[in-house]
Symmetry: C5
């Protein structure tokens, strides 16, 4: 899983039926110290994440797992809100 920070929300009236009723969150991928590592993505949410939350997300086909047995057209899903990092270089 990779780390990211929720930076917003996107809106799409025309969307695949499997995405109906799901929040589409903007996530800035970061390292575990909070520095940006690449372009923002849109992720689905399983943990009621809010703007500014530091989260971890799964990508690729694993992103569909929290929504099984249905099939949801997502390749990125937030699966946890990061509370604490214990690192050999310290905690934060």
């Amino acid at each position: 899983m990779n780390a990211g920070r929720v930076t917003g929300r996107v809106w799409a009236t025309q969307k695949d039926a499997s995405l109906e009723g799901r929040r589409l969150l903007l996530v800035q991928p970061t390292n575990f110290r909070g520095a940006a590592t690449g372009p923002e993505i849109v992720a689905l949410d399983t943990v009621s994440a809010g703007i500014g939350d530091h989260v971890m997300y799964v990508s690729s086909s694993e992103a569909t797992i929290p929504f099984r047995p249905g099939l949801t057209a997502t390749d990125a899903t937030i699966v946890g809100i990061l509370e604490r990092v214990d690192h050999v270089d310290g905690s934060w």
Copy 2:
């Protein structure tokens, strides 16, 4: 999901049977501010996207989900037309 802009269409008479009758759209991957992030790809379409539309697309095996239960040989599918982005840095 990643953002992109529809920039064209490609034509292939000889193609895998699972792609017969499907529009093959050229998509320029972008960030959510519209700047290009990599080479164009071909994506299938589930939302009747048109040239110039800002869209979000899924890649990898999730791209096949909107076409199930059949199996379609695609690794990129447009799943939404972006209407509005609410970002911590503003909306657009």
Copy 3:
């Protein structure tokens, strides 16, 4: 799907049983204007592509779809021969 140009063919007598009898084509990944974008790959073929053809191919697990219901150990398969590109910047 990504674009590429068929640049050759590779030969492997010792290979996984699921690849027996299949042509192994060298493909130079390109953008849709024909410029190389990364190292060559080996792809399987579903459209009788020949040397020099501009093609589109799927990667990842979608590459196995044209060969179902059997399971074929491939992560790249040519699924179309590009005939024409209609682009907002012109056609070619």
Copy 4:
């Protein structure tokens, strides 16, 4: 499989149900000589890896295999602790 070094642990009270009760380890991806190759990730663990261990991990949907038949929302799982590398350039 890629190499990495376990550098810490993260904590997430709110997380996808499939991750309940699983240790979330921070892994620094490295080459097989121990040099960092990219940003840290969070991986699940199947081998009781500890801080500082050199490990190999699988990514993408293969990361779910050690936890089957259940479906676990992970895209990175440690599958071995590296003990020894025999390399054409020497052993370490």
Copy 5:
């Protein structure tokens, strides 16, 4: 499929049960002219490849196909030993 050269072997006593009894080969990814293209990986083997062999390998979930119907926690598997490359720029 990508090209690589077998550069060694790694040993892991503690490993996922699905990897028991399988050789873990170090592979240096290369282009089809033999130049390194990225960090070494560990791959499983289906063709009795030896040190120094030029091989092609599949990555991602296709890497599990040669070991079906069982599920093996691998994301890279050697599926052929390269004997000859016929390229528009020559053969080698």
